[in-house]
Assembly symmetry: C2
Homo-oligomer: 163 residues x 2
Amino acid sequence: MVAMRGPSTSYELKRAVGHSVGYFWPFPHAQLYSEPKRLVELGLLDVIAEEHGRRKQTYTITEEGLSELRLWLGEPTTEQLQVRDVAELKLFFGELADAKDMLELAREQVRQHQQRIAVYEQMQLRFAGVPGVATRMVPLRLGLQLERAALQFWVEFEAENTG
Amino acid sequence: MVAMRGPSTSYELKRAVGHSVGYFWPFPHAQLYSEPKRLVELGLLDVIAEEHGRRKQTYTITEEGLSELRLWLGEPTTEQLQVRDVAELKLFFGELADAKDMLELAREQVRQHQQRIAVYEQMQLRFAGVPGVATRMVPLRLGLQLERAALQFWVEFEAENTG
DNA sequence: AATGGATCGTCTGTTTCAGACTATTGAGGA
DNA sequence: TCCTCAATAGTCTGAAACAGACGATCCATT
């Protein structure tokens, strides 16, 4: 996260993460403050303490940090994709639920996924022309694909279960 | 989870969960032992202590538990779908990585998603004819759709970044 | 009798997480 | 000028989630 935009403060990271990774993999901002500290101790980040009488720490990645990062990028990825979706969880109990409830669930999911897709498409548009950002948009495309797949599923489900 | 199959032990749940929800939303089995206890205290489950000299607790859902469950199923679902995928995370740093590494990442992802899809399709086939299980297969379909979307993405990505 | 696999369950320590809480800064209006 | 409010910057706490080692037991084979 750090390296991509040059030196950053935790707050800046928080914002950057907020509308990128954070969209599909949210995590509490407090970690954006505690993690850098850990990484500094490991020698992977440096602090460029500045202005404002000690508040506002700016971090840069060190050479070592960068090579660690690249190492990680080159490692095989064994973890499976995880999907956490309480809607899907509810689906597991479909038999027990009111048909009405499941239908409402589907409708709501359709709404939410449509909305999310709209947001993603907005982002794509906004950054479409900007040079250099192109590669950063790649993960967004995956997110979009997944959202669309989910949307399609719920639309079908709704159709099947409608009167 | 409990209600769908009638009274169960934690171990049975562990297995059942293992090849259903657990596929896309894994969690440690220890919770399958601690949670029921909590739910018993809340009056949502009953213990049918049996045989084996006190080991092996069998749980049933109570009337109250069932109505709580139904209540939950009827509640609006506000949580967004979460996707945790370290491959996608790595993609965010694509600029910094070796092109080679990203290509290998893509290839590996293609492999993994194909394999996962195969497993899901197997499951679908196996339970295709079995009566009563039909509705239980619904969430699987969503999982399958998502996997296919991911696969498609990585295939495209690989194509774009090859030679 | 010994092995080993499936069953059954506990325990420990670490991470993650949600979200409340505190401060500071800077811009704009009364 | 002073006030207020939003944005910025960061800490803290307690609760859940998590990984994974560990301890038992049962049962079928060798």
